[in-house]
């Protein structure tokens, strides 16, 4: 299994394979986004309480899901890179971080735009909002370590420890914020007690979530390919590639 990983984890091989996967995942992303937005903005009926304002959910919820999934992916890639010394995993972890941070930021921003008309305020110290904010800080810390250490191998190992320590702490942080809130005062606004979601709203949501997943995959491949070219710029195969293009 590890041999297999090393074989396909060779950056050059990954570059070739990802080059073939990339157009497909890009096309699927566009199709899913177009159909998801059509379903969400046009086909789904307006909510009986929130009117059309709830439609931001189709962007907000997938972003929030992706922010957590990307952190899991980041920690898994980082751990794989740290434990088995797989260079490709280091690259994938490094390239996941800015994507995850963007998902987190988008989730926070869209959430607060949604919160303004619904709750009458841009920000509430709700458990989910707070832990999402802390998650954003964790991403920022990871990227800061990556940026401040020049040697790529040391940067990968150091940031891997940051990611692993972070992922152990994510549930602890989440539950402590949750208990903090519930111990402190009865929840005045909870996101969990929304009206039950109807199938006509669920379908666009699922399509949009898939769209975001494929978007992540596509962007990850693009970023990883760039990173590979930068890291291997002195290697013969990259030079040949450059010669072919120029």
């Amino acid at each position: 299994m590890i041999k297999y990983l090393h074989k396909y984890g060779a950056p050059r091989r990954f570059y070739a394979i990802s080059g073939r996967v990339l157009p497909w995942s890009a096309v699927i992303t566009v199709i899913l986004f177009v159909s998801g937005l059509y379903l969400g903005l046009y086909w789904a009926p307006p909510d009986y309480q929130q009117g059309d304002a709830y439609r931001i959910m189709f962007v907000h919820v997938p972003n929030a899901w992706m922010s957590m999934m990307a952190y899991m992916a980041l920690a898994l890639f980082a751990a794989a890179g740290y434990i088995w010394n797989i260079r490709l995993a280091d690259i994938l972890a490094k390239c996941t971080a800015p994507l995850g941070a963007s998902f987190t930021l988008c989730a926070l921003v869209t959430g607060s735009i949604w919160g303004k008309p619904m709750w009458g305020t841009w920000w509430v110290w709700d458990a989910r909002l707070t832990s999402e904010l802390v998650l954003f800080f964790l991403y920022v810390g990871y990227m800061a370590v990556q940026a401040s250490i020049e040697d790529p191998r040391r940067a990968a190992h150091a940031s891997a420890i940051v990611a692993i320590v972070g992922v152990i702490n994510v549930p602890i942080i989440h539950y402590s914020v949750y208990w903090w809130h519930t111990l402190h005062q009865p929840a005045s606004i909870t996101l969990t007690n929304q009206p039950k979601i109807y199938i006509t709203m669920l379908i666009p949501l699922i399509v949009m979530s898939l769209a975001f997943m494929f978007f992540y995959l596509t962007m990850l491949l693009v970023r990883a390919r760039n990173e590979i070219l930068v890291r291997e710029k002195d290697r013969q195969w990259v030079r040949n590639l450059a010669r072919k293009i120029v």
């Binding site: 810390g141 940051v162 208990w179 111990l183």
Partner: protein, 227 residues
Amino acid sequence: MRGSLLGAMRAVFIRELLLFWRRRTEVANILVFFVIVTTLFPLAVGPERRELAHIAPGVLWVAALLATTLSLNQLFIIDYTEGSLDQMLLSPYPLTALVFAKLAAHWVLTGLPLALLSPLLAIQMALPDKAMGTLVLSLLLGTPILTLIGAIPAALTLGVRGGGVLVSLLVLPLYTPVLIFGAEAVAAAAGQEFAATAHLSLLAAFLVLALAFAPLACASALRVSLD
């Protein structure tokens, strides 16, 4: 010749205490920082006693947290520059155990004085007397967690430019659970609503977790930095 592991740990512990004692102004500076930060709040918020008492648990805890964060920069840096950290790495004893001894000494010299000093500042912040015991206890339970968790980024950023700010950036999100339950325990003791025991138990649980895993992570971080 190889002595016992406990002997080695004791040697590291005593060495740390001794070294700290010879640079005692640095330790004192941390405490002074704690005092000054706490003093800034009444100046900014106003001297109204009820208001001060209301924010006192949070202020004292944030000040203790920031003071500990500041102290983290000195945790490994001198041993790193003079090379004794390399010797610890090369020694036949597990690095985790030696790091543990080092962290224990660090806590005795920062966390413990912070906790002991806190009632004085609590008076300044008009915290009700009945919450004093909880304040000291919560800091006694909480500051070792701060040292243990904070040691990981401190070890990772050795020899990295801008390391000091980086440590704060990395460590403050990880401190949120400790801050929440520490401050909340004191607030609960000051008010009547809840018993503080639930918060203190959670803090103790975090401490056990941190004691078990943080030295391990810290040792791996040191290995990465000294690679």
